[in-house]
Amino acid sequence: MKANHLSYIAAIFLMLTSALAFGQYRISGTVKDDKGKIIPAASVSLSPAGMATKTDSTGNFNLEGLKGSQTLTVSSIGYRLFRKEIRSDSSVRLDVVLKPDTRTLNEVTISAGSFEASDKAKGASLTAMDAFTVAGNNGDLALALRSLPGAQQIGEMDGLFVRGGTGEETKQFIDGTLLKNLNYPRVPGVQQYARVSPVLFKGILFSSGGYSALYGQAMSSALILESNELPEKSSAYFAIFPPNSNAGIQQLSPNKKSSYGVTLRYTNASFYNSVVKQKPDYFSGPEYIEGDANFRIKTGKTGMVKFYTNWNVSDVGMRNPDIDNPTFRAGYQVKGKSIYNNLSYRSNLSDSWQVDAGMAYSYNEDHTVNSLINSEGQVTDPEHEALSYKNGQRLIKSDFAQGRLVFTKMFSNNQALRFGAEHFYNRDRGMSNDSTLALTDNLSAAFAEGDIYLADGLAAKVGARMEYSSALNEFVVAPRASLAYRLKKGGQFNLAYGIFYQKPLNDVLYLDRELKFSNAAHYVLNYTKKANNRFFRIEAYRKQYSDLVKTMPVTDNSGSGYAQGLELFFRDKKSVKDLDYWVTYTYLDTKRDFLNYPYALQPAFAAPHTATIAIKKSFPDINTFVNVSYAVATGRPYYDIRYSAGEGYRIFDQGKTRTYSVMNLQFAHLFSVFSSWKQKPVSGFSVGVNNILGTKQVFGYNYSFDGSNKVAITPPAARYFYAGIFMSFGIDRTSDFIDKNL
């Protein structure tokens, strides 16, 4: 008994004094971060001894370790775990440096050549609404982007003219699938609206160079739009902005798993045109009827099905003095019909796999009638054979379908691998005067792209895209690569390279199939810095064009060109209270030899210097907003290129237009009516004037057949006025969210 007690006591004694027995070796040191700042209260432990302590307020720690090898582990929230093998025969002193845990910092996103405007925007980054509410945009998708660097101020044509490229070199995508016809049918000299409402989108990626391998067939730029997810609440709205009126509803299901919505828009400018004198003499319309519908369904835990359909009908008919015979009038009328459908599905297949599938179908019909009317008001034939187009009709019916599938595998450190394939089917049939036009093309593409983490603050994106067109019977492979390097204080360098192939335009392919893809190689470098609600960006680029389509002397791919320049963007939401402004400057140097150019020329849609400023000031106490925007651009070149027997096409006259300078002003005021209603409607009115200073704009010149008559291409009216009201109603269900989470 006594012996047992003794050993029992001895064991306890030994246990209580074990610390002393093992404490032969001291391990001490300081813990700092990679910037040299001390880290207090960091956990420091030794294994297998099991000793643990915390660093004190000066970052120092003190541990008693075992003899031999053991592992020192240091950890602190926001930093990566530190482990070190220690072999000690005597006391050791170390300086431990903890690296920040990148998962708690923003991931490095590569932004060479692109502007992202999304609802996830932080600080001074752009949101979709920022772009749409710039004064003078009228909520138009394409116009909104002209206040960003890269897009030229082209007042007489629709579409986006990016970095020396034509409007056809930019393509728009909604949830991955191509939106073939963004704007209403072209009307010479009169800019047409975009068909899709910007309110649908939560994210816009405007890439003016070096875009991802997931997209193709656009030599200059891709406008990648992402539609909204389920709305937060059901809502309805209407707006009347003569000549435009529209209304819509968006209904969220009670279980918050699905939603549907419908909007209708009607525009008829006849009354407005009778009040505000327009240059063209409109005999029909302009009239546009448009409707769209959507539904969104959440499937399973992570899946989302989205469907969007848009249908519209338009009619614009105008007469202008004929350029070759001023006593005659040239009539132009275009009637358009179009329907566009987009179905997309996204889901997580597992923790690290995601699938995106999309299908689109659109049908487009453009019926154009040209007529030449003599001084007696009768349709007459022009004198010259070459001018026979002045009396003619053209009807093009276009079917388009696309299927697309993309898989994404996610890895650690924000890395990912994306791969997929898509197929585009396009069938055009129609007639132009007496000749039939037909074109069928099947274009297939397969692509792969990887987001790679190279080091702390250094990320790369590498990809390749293969495309095959049945109409051209040509197969191409395009590389894409970009790199981002984030500096310590919030600045970032980005680099991008890629080759972008594009089919020749359908208008050319109707007549000649023996053509190849044209392509442009992009080289882009930029520096961005975002801090304190300010955003600065400077970007330089070079584009090399090859195999551009030339139509004279024969139709082939012997054209080429280049575009290079510099762009600046600065946005400040902080310096002045309630004032948000941004300034851009674009320098563009470009020449190309294409279509009927006799040699490489600076194209008519490129201005060397462009600057824009957008200012938004809010007065929250009186719920009023004032927006001003100003754009100025140096003159655009114009040419009279005509066929001269024996010499081919040559330039008979050329020049530069006057400087483009337009200031837009908009004023909006919110007010509350029916405030006793449970769902307080938000109402407001807005008035504005585009080109308030009434400066004269000349976009270029048209020449008569013999070159003797030179007519300036000017806007249909000096100023554009608008005034209207809107009202939106919402049913707030956020209280349901709170109750569920208590």
Partner: protein, 215 residues
């Protein structure tokens, strides 16, 4: 024999209570430092210290204070929307942890304090980009403040948050600077006799900063 065992047991128990007192003392020392904190840097360092105390002491308070520190950083840096997100994410996580340690039926006053801080954390999410985050998180922020006041109408910190909301909201959406000032004064009055112990007692400096703007 028995005496020896008992004395050893007493030693062990003494050791344990000393440790417990040590950890409450540890929490108290960090809370005292919190009362002196002014800059974002201070709050960032204090968040780490609170988390260190949290690992030893199984209580809601260290996580509550860590979330409060993250909320303060968000408020101080409200003009730099780029940098706020990591703090508000951590703040949200820490409120969740603290809530899991509370008896939500009986500990009404504690839950009220926690919801007040959650309201502030959601407000910091609004600062990231008021235009896009404002609608969702502004409403959440307000709703949690209301819940906090339902649980404890006399909570001076919830009153401060309400005063902040009234002061900063434009008139059309329900703002009222005069009413805000009155609420802030009422909050200060309630804060008069609070002890500076480990339980939440902040609010004086915040109210003074808010009403200082009125002068």
């Amino acid at each position: 024999m028995k005496k020896l065992v008992l004395s050893i047991l007493a030693l062990v128990i003494f050791h344990m209570t000393v440790s417990a007192q040590e950890t409450t003392a540890a929490l108290q020392s960090v809370v005292t430092k919190l009362d002196q904190a002014k800059k974002a840097k201070d709050y960032e360092a204090l968040e780490k210290e609170f988390l260190a105390v949290a690992e030893q002491q199984k209580s809601w308070l260290p996580y509550y204070y860590a979330a409060f520190c993250n909320a303060k950083v968000g408020f101080i840096n409200q003009d730099d929307g780029e940098s706020i997100e990591p703090y508000s994410i951590r703040g949200e996580e820490q409120v969740e942890k603290a809530k899991s340690m509370l008896d939500t039926v009986r500990q009404k006053k504690e839950l009220s304090e926690l919801f007040t801080v959650l309201s502030m954390v959601y407000r910091t999410k609004v600062f990231i980009n008021p235009m896009t985050y404002g609608r969702k998180y502004g409403i959440l922020s307000q709703q949690y403040r209301v819940k906090a006041q339902e649980l404890d109408p006399e909570n001076p910190r919830a009153l401060y948050v309400q005063a902040w909301e009234l002061y900063k909201t434009p008139k059309m959406w329900g703002g009222d600077k005069e009413a805000a000032k009155k609420l802030s004064e009422r909050s200060l009055a309630l804060l008069q006799n609070t002890k500076a112990d480990v339980n939440p007692h902040w609010g004086k400096a915040e109210n003074e900063e808010l009403t200082g703007k009125n002068k």
